[in-house]
Subunit: 478 residues, 2 copies
């Protein structure tokens, strides 16, 4: 059972065994599958065999990632799958992009059950990854299997699979894989790893994704935690960290206060704005599911919708400093750390934005206002990961068949110009000859993606499988 | 070995066994010792015997703490010790105040050895509590033992001991104990739990302590950690917490920005200011020991000295929110928590200051400027502990003999109008008929009090014991 694999990429747990399980599931469905490794040489694994592919390896003789400049050691393999159409071999090719890794299950105590149980209760199957993305992956495989079994191994069009193991940590090596295997992965359209069902049970076909920049800020103060009676003379790293966070973002408006942050932000066309206006977003349902009373900056209606798909964010996902256990401890902590993720929109480059953040910190550290001398605490910003955003144009020729298929499978469908989340869509466009990506799938907000008690609704699993089958059918006719 | 007892009051570990060990050490030294418990009735433990003291119990029939209004259940006992002068029974009485509890040993990995080892290396004995306050306590007991053995059980003056088990968590029940046992504890002067040796090897006789207010701030946001792609609409509790911290204190000046915070602050007399100017404070040594490059607000010289003894502080001792482990997790945390300690100076009341803090939060939450509507995240402030500060006047009649004794034992001594730290000195003044307190002892800054690798220098243990003996001698002549 795929959900039982605790494939948490943040902790690099069991990627290879999970990838092999995916490969076996594909094999069983009739899809030719292999694992693509990435090391000193490129190694392709078929079934239980390993072989070294030196020809391809020569294109990466330095043993360094082209994206991160880090040595390429043992990071998770990619599962590649392929099934060719016999009756339509020169037709179009769909590439399904999915991932077998999951978010950490923390906080484990808030789960009603083991986070990797795969337990079925009523219409829901529970477990980390049930929805994001193991459930969606299975719908793709099952749809292909349906044709292969029904038509003695034939398919209306060619299909390929790329299933990576690092999506939840920002796909740091996907671009390298795409560069290396761009011929193998050549396709006409990419069907993305997920989609979602809105509160009116409509399938939302989404055409874009925000980018992301994840950083860690470390403030380094005294060499030890020291007695807090010295606070009158020793700058407190936790306070310095709070000041930096406050200087970066307005709590009231959510606006990011870092110089030039918005410089390259791509706006929306008139047609895109009209599409946004027609999108469904049930504010009350969202508030109920998340337990909040009002939206940041009291956004509502069209403003809320536009912000979700088009506004960059600055989010603090973690803080830690000093002593925070039972009781208290009167110390000045020696360090304070924050994990921060910035969502980016198309045309914003993560590396450029990181440089702007570093410039900001250099200017702001310890300052109440600019122009005053820098203070004692050292602040280090670490680049954890970054991806640009991307949006497929509304007039892309694959949009209509996908929307139609979704309508037939889910009874109703609608278009979103972009999701609020992040993924490596841009790299497919950049590397695979401008292949555009389209998101469609069966998750909904009540599935608690990334949260305790993540689940997938079983009737939506069935509908999503039907939807994929119809896409394969329609693309076969293009 | 007393240091081997992991008597961490923040975690309430082994208070009774540690108290019993202190009692046994006193017994062995010839000091009549007993444990004073505090429960439904007052129970006094002598040696291995227990007895219920119903007479005293009747004065506390509600079973509630007069200070905290909490039920009096199983908190740590006090060790009471007494040795009377045979030759001078109507002379003066010294009360030694010490504590057997210690700060948490965290972070344990920064200790070179087991934090409760009591290991001796060269001139130092290592372990949590080696200096603060088990080492100082032993010097008091040994000084009394010296007289009792040398003079066949006699002493120049009467001595009493009160050794509590909750000093490091702000002495939440000491005031109750003092109220209950005020007749038993009656004295002429209190010799405080510690003192310190400055960088010129002078014994610093300190006459005061700051007060403290410890609080926990909890910001409560969405009901679960939720996917950070929603950050455009959901207020982030970690950012709200940062904003509150920023609104409370100026990083540049250290000034507390809460309305009326300084209203009752007691200033210094001209004589006190002159004493402060004469105090030794080796700035370079302090920087070297703590690993900092410059002082907050670039304070130096007289300003730095005056700030240490007379300036209120706001210190963040801990932060925690969301995910801060390996890698990252793209979530909006559901909560964010800070532990904050405010040092207070004489005339500031912790409960009044806490009310001012609550008013501040109510006004400031979520606001960039006043007058705008409150936002979605809930903020709870919890009162963890509070104590007022106190300063013994420079002309108190016991100051001169103590300063003289310290000079004889340590070769050199000096007066400080107040330490930078906190203790329950005020309660002794309030309850024990205005008994003033004087701090003297053998710790120095290199002893790393409250930090990893805490230790006590053995030659200073010897000198501190001599100093206490000379105080007993001099007070016997008053």
């Amino acid at each position: 059972m795929l959900i039982k694999q605790p494939s948490v990429s943040a902790r690099n747990t069991s990627p290879v065994s999970t990838a092999r399980l995916v490969m076996q599931i594909m094999d069983k469905a009739g899809i030719r599958a292999e694992l693509l490794y990435f090391g000193r040489n490129w190694v392709v694994e078929k079934g239980q065999q390993h072989e070294t592919d030196n020809t391809q390896g020569q294109t990466c003789t330095t043993g360094q990632s082209k994206t991160t400049n880090k040595p390429l050691l043992e990071f998770p393999p990619i599962v590649y799958g392929e099934a060719k159409s016999k009756s339509n071999p020169h037709g179009k090719t769909i590439l399904f992009y999915n991932h077998y890794d999951v978010q950490p299950e923390d906080p484990a105590k808030l789960w009603k059950d083991d986070p990797f149980s795969g337990r079925v209760e009523g219409n829901r199957i529970y477990g980390r990854g049930a929805s994001d993305d193991k459930g969606e992956l299975i719908t793709r495989i099952k749809a292909v299997e349906y044709f292969l079994q029904a038509t003695d191994g034939d398919l209306p069009c060619n299909v390929k699979f790329i299933v990576e193991g690092e999506e939840e940590i920002g796909s740091p090596h996907l671009r390298d894989y795409l560069l290396q295997y761009k011929d193998k992965l050549k396709c006409d359209v990419v069907i993305w790893e997920s989609g979602y069902i809105d509160s009116k049970s409509r399938s939302v076909v989404s055409l874009g994704q925000k980018g992301i920049l994840c950083v860690e800020l470390n403030v380094i103060g005294p060499s030890n935690d020291i007695h807090s009676s010295h606070a009158v003379l020793v700058e407190n790293p936790a306070i310095t960290l709070s000041k930096i966070i406050c200087s970066m973002v307005s709590q009231r408006t959510g606006k990011i206060l870092i110089e030039d942050w918005y410089r390259e932000v791509k706006g929306f066309s008139r047609k895109e704005l009209m599409t946004i206006a027609q999108e469904e977003f049930d504010e009350e349902d969202f508030k109920r599911e998340t337990g909040i009373k009002s939206f940041a900056n009291n956004k509502t209606g069209f403003d809320a919708k536009r912000a979700r798909v088009g506004e960059p964010t600055c989010n603090v996902s973690g803080l830690v400093s000093g002593y925070w256990g039972l009781g208290f401890k009167t110390i000045i902590p020696s360090t304070a750390t924050a994990k921060i993720d910035f969502r980016l929109v198309p045309e914003m480059d993560p590396h450029t934005q990181f440089q702007r953040l570093q410039n900001h910190i250099a200017r702001k550290i310890g300052l109440e206002k600019e122009g005053e001398p820098a203070r004692g605490n050292k602040v280090e910003a670490r680049f954890l990961t970054g991806e640009p955003g991307y949006r497929t144009p509304l007039d892309n020729p694959y949009v209509t068949p996908v929307v139609q298929a979704a309508k037939e499978a889910f009874n109703s469908s609608t278009i979103s110009v972009s999701g609020a989340g992040t993924g490596p869509m841009y790299y497919f466009y950049e590397i695979l000859e401008k292949a555009s990506s389209i998101c469609v799938g069966g998750s909904s907000i009540s599935d608690k993606i990334h949260s305790p008690n993540e689940n997938f609704q079983i009737d939506n699993l069935v509908k999503a499988t039907k939807c994929i089958a119809k896409i394969i059918e329609k693309v076969g006719k293009l």
